[in-house]
Amino acid sequence: MQQVKYIFNRILQMFPVLIVISFIVFGSMRLIPGDPAVKMLGDKATEETLAALRAKMGLDKPFLVQYLYYLKQTAKLDFGNSIYLKQSVLSLFLEKSVVTVSLTVLTAFFSVLISFPLGFYAGIHGDGRFGRLVSSLSLIFTSVPIFWLGLLMLMLLALRFPVFPVGGWGTSFMEHLHSLILPSFVGSLSTMTLIIRNIQASVVNVLKKDYVDFAYSKGLSARKVTSGYIMRNVLVSTVTLLSIRITGLLGGSVVIESVFALPGIGSLLLTGVLSRDYTLVQGLVFLFGVIVLVINLLTDISYSFLDPRVTLK
């Protein structure tokens, strides 16, 4: 019951945050110079044609009138049509989010798949040569520009040894998966090394704890100690790290999607900003905001399942 109340309260708290987000996005799009009408009609447009288009889009109305109308429509989950692409923002978002969400999920999957065994291994075998290797690799992967790494991977694994396609999205499910492998792997490298370091440190830390000694002396099997004591204690910090990285990955999708020619939300958002597509940018950023808030909420809820010492209040 307490949990349900907690979740309900958290969801209520999202609304003011979303209103702030909507205002910031709405305001900043109008603060930056550049006029969507000019951008749409090009350099040959006359003042009359520009004025006619502005009036049609409602851009001649006062700022606050525009904002309140936008807020009202957003509350009804109507994000309008993209002024450039003439398509519903919501349907564009849903269509493109397939790419970005798959990319993010696969990236998280790769990070976890590779970092867990390695991090555990490093934690148990102490801070030897392997630990130092992981530390230096993690320094490299977090500082190397991701587009450069992506291009190198493409040159090696798509051009020299044609194992993967050179970017693109493909048409079938298998082709989608195939074309997502390289970008997700590249995207996961920095997260992976972070998680390895985190797990390694946590394992080293947990192994020193009295309750581990106690568990062993009680005669519990190694499997039970690993899964019930070590793993659970490591998980909480890893989930936090992963959730921060996932929201970061959503934002950073612009770069990966551009290098790998993936038609996701990142590319769509970039086009929207450059063409001053007000409705598109407002809608996309707002929906991005919702996703980030939901991920944060899920992370917080997961703590209570991972660690009984955490209670939701």
Binding site: D35, G170, L274
Partner: protein, 512 residues
């Protein structure tokens, strides 16, 4: 060491290997001729009268066609859906005799009603930037099942060229009225060699062969696919790996490596003209001596080598050699630092001054050019402050004359110099095109440019434009830089890629 369970290493590696195998299955290939083209940006509006971006305009004529078309070299008007035409002696009435039996890609026959509707939609649109090019039309009527009569308000030497523009194409009236402007923007229907099959925004635009195309045996390709690949390096690798057949907007510094091996490079002539806009209303830049000094001080050959691999030509103004009435007698000003210093000393600013140069951020070529110009102008005492802004801001600053100097470029959309003659010279045009040019030479040029708008004799008209270009080059309201060709690369096996100087694609013969 205490006993701690870790993952079974063998099982784990077997899993990884299995995953790798599953994902490296080869892709299936198809038997029909599909040409895949990678370009940096997607189209946005495919309605011929509302689209104005090159990504829209260039693909328009795959789907829609007009009465006439621009010749492959861009300098003549040739018949397309009109077999021939008559002009009345007073130049007011044009009668077009239409080809018989032409059908739209949905199978319905083209009628004169469709033509009249399409032209009225273009002429009366309040939001089309192309309407101005057709303001000479008074009335369009049908005088038979296959004849169209255009009555003009006054004789116009560029009316025929206007009929060859993508926007003056025929579309089915019934369909257009049913789907409305937004529907047409997403799926235009016309008589062209291809029709739109599917469009995944931001990803790919697919055109399929029009089964009702009126030219027997054409087009050669079954499908044309435009993929969006924003990154230059990725795009080039896709071509090298054979994943795409053609790439557009190839960076000049990569042309050498793409000219050998399995790929080839084309450089179709274009009307693209790059220049530095200089705000003539600033006291420093209002002096023609200063503007001339600024141009003399730039070593354009060096910039050409660095940025365009030497493939661009030095420009003398806005009318490019790919347009009719280009004045080839004018020679571009050479690099002459002494002359530049001398001109500066004659001006009101012998010790120089400071101005800013605005250009688009993220464009490496423009950055390189800006740095070279800064270096060049510092030698005549002009200190340059570089200002990088995003493209939308650059445009609106230029449009509102809120800049001092600015890296700029224009292309023509009509195979006639009238666009430049009107907007860049006449005081009626927008300030930004004229850079607020004024003075006796501007006034003289304007007289000629206005005369050229109604001069029906081609030789006399050419003489008027020759004079306009001379005056322009004498006074330099802007600093002409380069005439730049389009750069396209393809696999060696690809044939029939045609792009006219206005940028418009003709893919009837495109095959591989």
């Amino acid at each position: 060491m205490r006993d701690v369970v870790t993952l079974n290493a063998k099982l784990y590696s077997a899993f990884l290997v299995a995953m790798l195998l599953v994902f490296t299955l080869p892709a299936a290939s198809s038997a029909s001729t599909e040409i895949t083209i990678a370009r940096p940006a997607d189209s946005t509006i495919l309605d011929p009268i509302h689209g104005n971006d090159n990504s829209d305009i260039w693909v328009c004529n795959l789907v829609v066609q007009g009465l006439t078309k621009s010749s492959a070299d861009g300098t003549k008007v040739e018949p397309e859906l009109a077999e021939r035409w008559d002009v009345s002696p007073d130049g007011i009435t044009y009668t077009f005799y239409l080809k018989e039996g032409v059908k739209f890609s949905d199978g319905t026959p083209v009628t004169t009603d469709d033509w009249i509707y399409s032209y009225e939609r273009l002429i009366t649109s309040k939001e089309s930037v192309w309407t101005d090019s057709f303001s000479m039309i008074d009335k369009v009527t049908a005088t038979g099942d296959n004849t169209l009569r255009f009555k003009l308000k006054a004789p116009s030497p560029f009316f025929l060229a206007a009929t060859s523009m993508f926007c003056a194409s025929v579309m089915p009236k019934a369909y257009c009225e049913k789907v409305g402007d937004d529907g047409i923007a997403q799926n235009p229907i016309g008589t062209g060699p291809f029709m739109l099959e599917s469009w995944n925004r931001g990803e790919k635009l697919v055109f399929a062969k029009n089964p009702y195309y009126w030219k027997e045996g054409l087009p050669k390709a079954d499908k044309i696919i435009f993929n969006v690949v924003p990154d230059d390096n990725t795009k080039i690798m896709q071509l090298q790996a054979g994943q795409v057949d053609v790439i557009t907007y190839v960076p000049f510094n990569r042309t050498a490596e793409l000219s050998v091996g399995r790929t080839k490079v084309y450089m179709p002539a274009s009307t693209y003209t790059s220049f530095i806009s200089v705000n003539n209303s600033l006291p420093e830049l209002s002096d023609p001596n200063v503007r001339k000094a600024l141009l003399y001080a730039i070593d354009r050959d060096a910039i050409n080598k660095v940025i365009y691999n030497g493939k661009a030509a030095l420009s003398t103004g806005l009318i490019s050699p790919a347009l009719p009435h280009y004045n080839s007698q004018i020679k571009p000003l050479p690099y002459d630092l002494e002359k530049a210093k001398e001109l500066m000393s004659k001006s009101a600013y012998p010790d120089g001054f400071q101005i800013s140069l605005t250009f688009t951020s993220g464009n490496f070529n423009e950055l390189q050019m800006a740095v070279m110009i800064k270096e060049a102008w510092s030698k005549i005492g002009v200190a340059l402050k570089l200002e990088q802004l995003d493209s939308a801001t650059v445009w609106s600053n230029w449009g509102g004359m809120k800049y001092q100097s600015l890296l700029n470029a224009l292309t023509s959309d009509i195979a006639d110099p009238t666009q430049f003659g009107n907007i860049a010279i006449s005081a009626l045009g927008r300030h930004c095109y004229r850079s607020d040019w004024s003075g006796p030479k501007q006034q003289e040029a304007e007289i000629y440019a206005v005369k050229a708008n109604s001069e029906m004799d081609p030789a006399k008209r050419a003489a008027l434009y020759a004079k306009v270009q001379e005056l322009y080059n004498d006074d330099l309201p802007l600093l002409p830089m380069f005439y730049v060709p389009y750069v396209v690369a393809s696999s060696k096996s690809v044939t029939g890629f045609e792009q006219n100087p206005l940028g418009v694609y003709n893919f009837e013969l495109l095959s591989k």
